[in-house]
């Protein structure tokens, strides 16, 4: 159990700055998810917390103690790697007890702790096997088991599920959620996967280009994205963006048409971007309401249909359950409920 503070942390590789001015407070027992596109520095941040990478600037504290100069073993943190990093020459039981053996824990205690962890993860039958003889999902469990046996202050996960197939991933996601509820340990979890981020996180940290873009609960990020990057990154399919100029309480699109804005938005502000999620767009038969356009492409996903439209020269996606517009080429009208609109200024910041 621990709190963590990251203060203006930065990281350079040579002269290249890959993380810049990272600030983050993590509460005791919180489940934090780091999301962001590939190469944005998620793993680097995680590894800095773990002590595997040197911290170029700023500081990282765990339980109010500065960690910068401490080696990993002094930080009492567990980490689950994307590759699992199970020791190939040790049995499952030895993998799980390695950290305890390093700490010279006595044999009965080790047996008890390994027993408890393996029972929790359903690994009892596999304890004598070598990692080579395990399936992907089982390896993943062993990696989790190795992390939980020693009851560390905090857990770090670096894309732990990305090597599993979709079904298993869903299952393990629920397991992790359950484990966290039981253990209540502070956790930081890196993922590419939207759904993982939304379902697991107490708070999500969205990162891009070495900077934190927004920190908040999953719904905060979904409902009130702080900028264009977060707006586009959270949600699937991604938010639609309409570029134009705002004047007379409406957005003037590049093709000359206009979208009326609700009263609480500024009446004039020049260049701006209006965002709306595909699932919030309202469709109506052509000519009845909204902007008229044609269906280019239809993607049925089973639990819904994604329509690709063209609006003001850009692709515009709509998620619907209505099966009336399945025919490519048919005309539809799209309209936007006022409460579902997001407005961003020319710099991409939410207004």
């Amino acid at each position: 159990m621990a709190t963590m503070e990251i203060r203006s942390a930065s990281k350079n590789y040579g002269t290249i700055r890959v993380l810049d001015d990272i600030n983050l407070d993590i509460g005791d027992g919180e489940f934090i998810v780091l999301v962001g596109p590939s190469g944005c520095g998620k793993s680097t941040l995680l590894r800095m917390i773990a002590g595997l990478e040197e911290i170029t600037g700023g500081e990282i504290r765990i339980d109010d103690k500065v960690m910068n100069a401490l080696p990993p073993k002094a930080r009492d943190i567990a980490m689950v790697f994307q590759s699992y990093a199970l020791y190939p020459h040790m049995s499952v039981a030895d993998n799980m007890s390695y950290s305890l053996r390093l700490r010279k824990t006595d044999k009965p205690t080790i047996a008890e702790k390994v027993g408890a962890a393996s029972a929790k993860l359903g690994l009892d039958a596999l304890l004598e096997r070598k990692p080579k003889a395990l399936s992907g999902g089982q390896r993943q469990r062993v990696a989790m088991g190795r992390a939980i046996v020693r009851q560390p202050k905090a857990f770090l996960f670096d894309e732990p599920l990305s090597n599993l197939d979709a079904r298993l991933r869903e299952h393990m996601r629920a397991e992790i959620r359950k484990l966290h509820r039981e253990l209540g340990a502070t956790s930081i979890y890196v993922t590419h996967d939207q759904v993982e981020a939304m379902t697991l996180a107490d708070r999500i940290v969205a990162m891009h280009g070495g900077h934190i873009q927004q920190v908040g609960t999953p719904l905060e990020l979904y409902d009130r994205p702080a900028n264009l990057f977060v707006a586009g990154f959270i949600g699937s399919p991604g938010m639609n963006f309409l570029k134009g100029d705002i004047a007379d309480r409406s957005l003037h699109l590049r093709d000359g048409r206009t979208v009326a804005l609700p009263a609480e938005m500024p009446a004039t502000m020049g260049e701006a971007t209006l965002g709306i999620r595909p699932e919030h767009v309202v469709l109506s038969p052509a000519g009845e309401a909204g902007l008229e356009t044609t269906v280019d492409l239809v993607e049925p996903t089973g639990h819904g249909i994604i329509l690709h439209l063209t609006l003001a020269g850009t692709v515009f996606k709509v998620l619907t359950h209505d099966r009336r517009w399945l025919e490519p080429g048919s005309s539809v009208g799209v309209s936007f409920p006022a409460e579902a609109l997001h407005l961003f200024n020319a710099e991409g910041v939410r207004v």
């Binding site: 990993p72 073993k73 980490m79 590759s83 990093a85 190939p88 390695y98 390093l102 020693r150």
Partner: protein, 277 residues
Amino acid sequence: MTATRLFGTLAHRAAILCFIAFALFPLYWLLKVSVTPNDLLYSEGVRMWPSRTTLDHFRFVLANSEFPRFFANSLIVSGTTALISTALAALMGYALSRFQFRGKLWLAGLLLVTQMFPLVMLVAPIFKILSPLGLTNSLTGLVIVYTAFNVPFASFLMQGFFDGIPSDLEQAAMIDGADRFTAFRHIILPLALPGVAATLGFVFTAAWSEMIFALMLISGSEKATFPVGLLTFVSKFSVDYGQMMAAGVLALIPACLFFLLIQRYLVQGMTAGAVKG
């Protein structure tokens, strides 16, 4: 079509057989002469196998000559050299594989250069340095010299093997509470065991073969290694061919054993070590 393919296959097998014959014939001949009784040696000169065989030459060499001592000396020198070189090379190779540090390129370059310059150049100066230290005519002196000569290549070999082990593993160990050296001992070394075996074999074979420095640094038969002993024997009793070749067969044994041990790793080790280094 099938006729040409059949012909191709036959030609291929025939070519392989030619290479095998060429590779093995000299060793076969060595063995043959070593079991030929003296009285048949000249009368049956080029026969492929003598009409009578004997182990007398081996008996003589093992019982009445100094070869057992030469053999033991060589075994001690090569074994110790292999152990020390591999241990040092493991550390060095680990540093080259896992650390980014200033001067690393320079260091690798230095190792490479030591593989390029003529070792004969060092014969005189090394003799001059070791002589006042009492390390000439001593097995310890030979071990030191051989270790230095073999450790650069061994380091590149070990580096290649370490590069093949994901660094996630030792990082996981470090997070589990090991410091770097403990992680190296517990996790990396056991996984690099095949590499360690291959390196041991390479160094042992090289040390077993070394002759120039052994001739220069060792005088007298007390500390002579196998090559020194054999060459002295050859120049002294140059007509006892059967005995010489029996001794030659003995010299072949440990080298071949080690070779069989490592030959599995040869191709992979060369990819890892030599091409990279």
